[in-house]
Amino acid sequence: MATLRRLLARQEVIIALTIIILSIFIGLVNPSFFSIPNVFRILRSGIIVGMFAMGVLIVLISGGIDVSFPAIAVSAMYITVVFIRDTGIDSLVLSFVVAGLIGLALGLFNAFFIALFKLPTLIVTLGTLSLFRGLLLFFVGSQRIRIAEVSPVLSDLSRGNLITIDNPAGGVANLHIAFVFLVVLAVIVWLLLRYTMLGRAIYAMGGDLEAAERVGFNVRRTQFFIYGFVGLVAGITGIVYCSLSREADPFSIVGIELDVIAAVVLGGASIMGGRGTVVGTLLGVLLITLISSSLVLLGISSDWQRFVVGILIIIGTSIPVLQLRQRQRTQSAAQAV
């Protein structure tokens, strides 16, 4: 009994149970939910949110917040594609390197203000969100570029599949190769948070910045790492995004930040810092993806879809708050005795 209660106190377990119950419910309404093509589809639509979430997780654990990553991603993506178009240099590795470096540079730009001027992270990244996107649209361009017309290499990536099976309902079902990027990134972040001193520093900063500094963590350097890392991840995710969507649209991606942050918080990361896990985050991403991509299967009419998504997110995010309150009540009860 005690074990069960301890299990239920973990956000990951709650989210996993929610996912299972929701899946059974959707499957009862529409049995084709439990099919391999559908599983592939849901995994694929979680790739982008999942990759961004890995960066955001680190920032949230450290007690900060970053809303500028979509602008970093779209800048890195679009500048890289324009670079490919105008130079004709079409190399997969180079595009990832260029996009990663642009992302890193923009991320360090954030870190510069956050670490050296000690400005609130939300203010800085809200500012750079508009700044990066504005510079991109004004100086680089505002036109959609079809990947197939400029980069055969990225175009091949967009058609790359990890697994292809015959769909019994006709045609084929694919698991996109970009899923590998998400898995690799998740493993890296998991190792980083669990087994490195840097990871300890990130958790310590989120718990108490002052205390982390006193016990000898180099907070400034860690902040440079955190925001640089988010930028790097965003840059690479930008390239993955354009190969998944087969186009580079400078107006895309920005707007995804709320979904990503919601997924990370849903996955148990505390918005106040100090708490959060990779597994929880991935489950949060899965839940958000599941909700937003099963509305047609559930037969919910278009008029109601946004309403239903809103309700489910409110329910999902209020669970941890209620849990916390429950825990506090138990604690004070214990103290009273």
Partner: protein, 355 residues
């Protein structure tokens, strides 16, 4: 500290450099200009006509400028030119119109960015005796006339006919709109669904109108879900220019190019690759060059006083521009002229267009 600061300066400089590097890349392709339609009107006066577009520097309005330049070519005593703000901004467009009025143009062809914002300046223009023709603004008030490439219902029916023919008039289909509040998109699909229900009894509309929010990724993910929910889906009609792009990508990835028909409004520049792989079967749009040309023709006739309109009615024998495809036979409702100027593009002719 100095050392560290210099590192940051370098990072900062690199960031700016990276961004400004992009500037030199940004260049626009110029559409090739096939020949003009040729003169069909006798023009006695010397007229200056300005076409004011929403935004300059984008392919759509570059193409329109081609049409405006044809007017000057075909009618030597007409000076037709195009102007517009460099940013999509209603206030800037008003400023452009004000400057043109100060220069003393005889007529304005306006494609308003925000119809209500330009009403006051258009009212002033008309008070000064300037002829005002608008395009893509059928509810504009302070105008002589408005001209639309087509009537929305007729266009929706046209797309349904294209879809039904390719589906052999049978099977399940669904429709996409940018949003349930996009008026024109909903007019197109409502007319299409009504036409199907009356004429093609073996076709079935499944699901609901799907919203794509003008985002090809949303259309893509929605289409993937529809493929799971409706395994017998055989056709899709898109509305936003990005709908068929997302839908076509989902169809291609599922290897269903030959089983599922995808038609809708789009532009060759964003759908060409998918048209070439047959994931998209047909797209339709209107040619901005012809729309700009037609707008100017109306302005000329209104200036010359040769428009055959009496009490808001066209003459019985009809009215139109015989050399302008889609505008040969115009209809008039209140102050709005309608053509039937949709252009269909398939893999056969997709390479003729570069916008």
């Amino acid at each position: 500290m100095v050392h560290r600061r210099s590192i940051f300066l370098v990072v900062f400089a690199l960031t700016i450099l990276a961004l400004s590097f992009g500037v030199s890349f940004a260049q626009e392709a110029t559409p090739d200009a096939p020949s003009s339609p040729g003169a069909i009107l006798d023009v006695s006066g010397d007229w200056t006509i300005a076409t004011v577009v929403k935004l300059t520097g984008i392919a759509w309005f570059d193409r329109m400028e081609t049409g405006v330049n044809w007017v000057s070519e075909d009618y030597p005593n007409v000076t037709a030119f195009q102007q517009g703000p460099a940013q999509a901004d209603a206030a800037l467009q008003v400023q452009v119109i004000e400057d043109l009025l100060a220069q003393g143009v005889d007529a304005l062809c306006v494609i308003p960015f925000q119809p209500e914002t330009v009403e006051p300046v258009l009212q002033r223009a008309r008070e000064e005796g300037v002829v005002v023709i608008t395009h893509e603004a059928s509810n504009q008030e302070n105008i002589d006339y408005d001209i639309e490439a087509f009537d929305n219902s007729a266009y929706g029916v046209h797309l349904m006919e294209a879809l039904a023919e390719r589906m052999n008039y049978e099977g399940e289909y669904t429709v996409f709109v940018g949003s349930l509040t996009s008026a024109t998109h909903n007019q197109w699909v409502d007319a299409a669904i009504a036409y199907q229900q009356e004429n093609y009894p073996d076709m079935t509309f499944v699901g609901d109108k799907n919203e794509s929010f003008d985002d090809p990724q949303q259309a893509y993910e929605r289409m993937q879900e529809l493929l799971i929910a409706y395994p017998n889906l055989r056709g899709v009609q898109g509305s936003a220019s990005t709908d068929v792009v997302g839908v076509g990508q989902a169809v291609e990835e599922a290897g269903l190019q030959d089983q599922i028909v995808v038609v809708g409004t789009s532009l060759p520049s964003i759908s060409r690759d998918l048209i070439n792989t047959d994931a998209i079967d047909l797209i339709s749009f209107w040619d901005p060059a012809l729309a700009g040309y037609a707008c100017n023709m109306l302005a000329i006739q209104q200036l010359e006083g040769t428009l055959p309109v009496t009490d808001g009615e066209l003459p019985e024998e009809g009215f139109g521009f015989s050399n302008l495809t889609g505008y040969e036979e115009l209809s008039l409702v209140d102050k709005v002229f309608y053509g039937a100027a949709w252009v269909d593009v398939t893999s056969e002719n997709v390479d003729e267009w570069d916008f």
